[in-house]
Every structure is written in C-alpha cells, then in structure tokens.
Symmetry: C2
Subunit: 248 residues, 2 copies
C-alpha cells in the first residue's frame, strides 16, 4: 500500500515534469512566432515584449532544473525513469537557448526598424520560421507521447531549414553588393536567419533526447549536410556589380 | 569494510568524471586556439583538421553523458555528489557547443581563404580569442578546484569580450561600406567574431555551474549588458562613404 502510494506519487512527479517541459516549449514556440511576426510587420513594441518575456523561459528552466535535481535526490530513479529526468534536464536547457535565439531576433528587429527595408528576405525568414515552429511543436508532441518516429521525422525536416538558410545567405550577400545602403539591415537579417537556423538545430537535438529517453541511446543517424552557408562565397565583380558566387 | 570500499570507489568515479571534463575542456580550448591560429596565418589545412577533430569532442560528450547516467543509476548520489554529477552533465554539453563554435570558425576560415584579406579585424578577433581561451582555461581550473571565486572572476571577464565584439561589429560594417569587395569576407568575420563572443558566454555558463555545484544554487548576478552588437546600426551616407553610426 505504502509502496503503491510512493509509485503513484512518482508518476505524478513525472507528469508534472512533462507538463513543465510542454509549457516551456509552448512559450519558446510562441516567442519565436512573435519575434518573426514583429520582424514582418515590423513592430518594435512587439519585439520589446519578446525581449522582456524571455525572462519567463529562463525562470522555467531554473524551475525544471531544481525539480529534476529534487527528483533525482528523493526518488533515486532507475532505468526509464532516470532517462526521462535526464532528458528533461537537457531539453530544458535546449529550450532556454531557443528562447535566447528568439530574443536575439527581436533585438535585431529593433535595429532593423532604423534601417532600410530589404524586400523579399523577410518572407524567406518567415518561411524558415514556419518550418522551425512546427518542428518545435512536433518534437514536443513527440516528447509528451514518447513517439520516436515523430521525433526522427522532426530531425529530418531540419534539412529543409538548412537549405532555405544557405540560399538566403547568398541572396543577402548579393543585396549587400548591389546596394551598400542595405549593408546594416542585411547583416542583421543574416544573423536573424542564422538564429532561426540554429533553432532548427536545437529542435533536432530535442529529437535526439526523445530517442535517448525512449530507446536508451542516441540515434545513429548521419546528419545531412544541409547548411553550407559557412562555406559560401559571393564575389563582387569589377565595378561592384552583383555576381553569382560559388558554394564550396 | 565493504561500505568503505564502495565510498572509495565512488570517489574514484568522481575523480574520473573530473578528469574527463578536464580533458574535454582542454580539447575545446585547443580547438579554439587552433581555429584562430588557422584564421590568422591563414592556413586552410589546419582549419580542416579543426573540423575533423570536433568528432573527438562529440565522442567525449557522449562518454561523459553515459558515465553520469551510470553513476546516477548505480550510486544514487545525494546532495553535493548529485550536484557534481549534474554540473558535469551540463558542462559537457556546454563544452560540446564550444567545440561546435570553434569548428564553425574553422569552416569560415576556409571560405575566407577564397576572399580578399581584410586588415586589422583578424587581430581584434585574435585578442578576443585570447581572452576567451584563458576564460575557458580558468573556469575549468575553477571546476577542478571547486573555486567559486575564480569562477565568478571568469564570469566578470566576459564583459571585455562583449565590448571587443561590439566595436568589431561596427568596424566590420564600416569596412563593408567602404569596399563592397570586402562584403563576403567581412560577413564571415562577423560570424567568426560572434562565435568567439558566444564561446565567452558559454564560459560564463560553466562558471554558473561551478557556483551551483559548490554552493547549491545559481549565482544571483546581474549580467552586464556588454554585447550591444544586436542593436548596432551603421548608416551609409549618400555616395556610400562610410560614416559612424549609432548604437542603440
């Protein structure tokens, strides 16, 4: 009877942990969505709110951290339960970083509100943002339902984000070559795009944690080399006309 | 006698964990140092080796992860010992990311070897790199010796890195405005500088883990707002002449 009671309470603890992760993930997803919306409109006030709201994500990470340490100390869990707690600890720290990236998008949106508008790049960022947002949503669903297949599906979708990012990187360099007035704006857009791309990477690392939690090991997958932007070179021609460059 | 034996072995385990963290940290520091050296010379082959060697850091993280999970399961540690293990788990994941940033510096060094040379920026990056490298070294010393004061000292030195980064960001935007041929090279240098700045941030989060490990809570410090690059705007004048801009 007493053992039953303890077991039941531990299950309650684990559900509570799931709920906290889901709450934190929902917030991270919302922060990204609001940051990108603030960029598209553009709306500096909304961006300011995103910056402020990051504190809530940070606070949730601290809460989850101390809750997991408490669970480890009081429950001394084994096997599956131990992995659930370790995964939650790691996922919370990944979600905190996703929140930081969303905050940085918002900061740069404020800088952009003082710069020239640069056409179509923001719509590509919005497309990347949509994919990444649904990756966060789906990987959290996969976490809550312990669904490895869904997690691996998220893992694979990161390639699309990487490809969008590589082509956007080239596009923004070309804009800068065409019109030096665009340089500051394009630089911030480059970093915004990179932030969104990094959020996609972080969604895949949550997917890996779901795999670890359910199967007991990390997935043995070869990551597709989607993001080539770090190797990308776009050359200026004589007279500074824009030119297609090479991607190593 | 048997209990003594168990206690002693657990201490051995914890020393082994410390050694693994120290080894991983030493590698991360070396990777950063080699990546920056490859940038300065420049030396694309050395950069290639940095990219390849990142696998060793990734492998060490996996090793530390499974070792900590094993320790939690077999030893069911409490209080201080539990915090040591949790901190090691978190520090390993931070070091893995430091390795990723060093790898990205190396990737962009390869792209830069195809671009124009841009004067003094690399020497500022080297200066940032020196500070950040000594931050990693000192914070790992603080970890091994459980020295909270030394950890907090590292935490504070991040402001210098942030300030160097903010001024380098403005400098690079100005180069781009002056000479569009520099745009691709400067863009990669902007991301390299950002990577080094992020490594500094990660050194501070290791410092926070040392505080947590020794004192049982996270340090209650207000982070100085050193890095203002996300808010920086540098305007092009009519005729594209470079001009000092504003930092919000």
């Amino acid at each position: 009877m007493s053992k039953d009671h303890i077991v039941k309470t531990f299950d309650d603890d684990l559900s509570l942990l799931d709920n906290k992760i889901a709450e934190m993930g929902g917030l991270a997803e919302l922060q990204l969505s609001n940051a990108i919306d603030a960029l598209l409109r553009p709306n500096a006030e909304k961006a300011e709110r995103v910056i402020l709201n990051d504190q809530r994500i940070d606070a949730l990470e601290k809460e989850i951290d101390s809750f997991t340490v408490q669970l480890l100390a009081l429950r001394q869990p084994m096997a599956d339960d131990l992995r659930i707690i370790i995964a939650a600890l790691k996922i919370a720290s990944v979600l905190e970083r996703i929140g930081d990236y969303a905050k940085n998008v918002a900061k740069r949106t404020i800088a952009l509100s003082q710069s020239n508008n640069v056409g179509s790049a923001t719509s590509t960022i919005a497309r990347m943002g949509n994919v990444v947002q649904s990756m966060i949503k789906n990987v959290l669903d996969a976490y809550v339902s312990r669904d490895v297949e869904q997690a691996l599906d998220v893992w694979e979708r990161d390639e699309e984000v990487d490809q969008l990012h590589t082509s956007l990187f080239r596009e923004l360099l070309t804009y800068m070559l065409e019109e030096p007035r665009n340089i500051t704006a394009c630089t911030h857009l480059l970093f915004i795009a990179k932030n969104v791309e990094r959020i996609g990477d972080h969604a895949t690392s949550i997917a890996e944690q779901v795999h670890f939690m359910v199967r007991g090991d990390m997935p043995d997958l070869k990551r597709p080399k989607g993001d080539q932007s770090s190797f990308t070179v776009v050359e200026a021609e004589e007279g500074d006309s824009p030119d297609a460059g090479s991607t190593a």
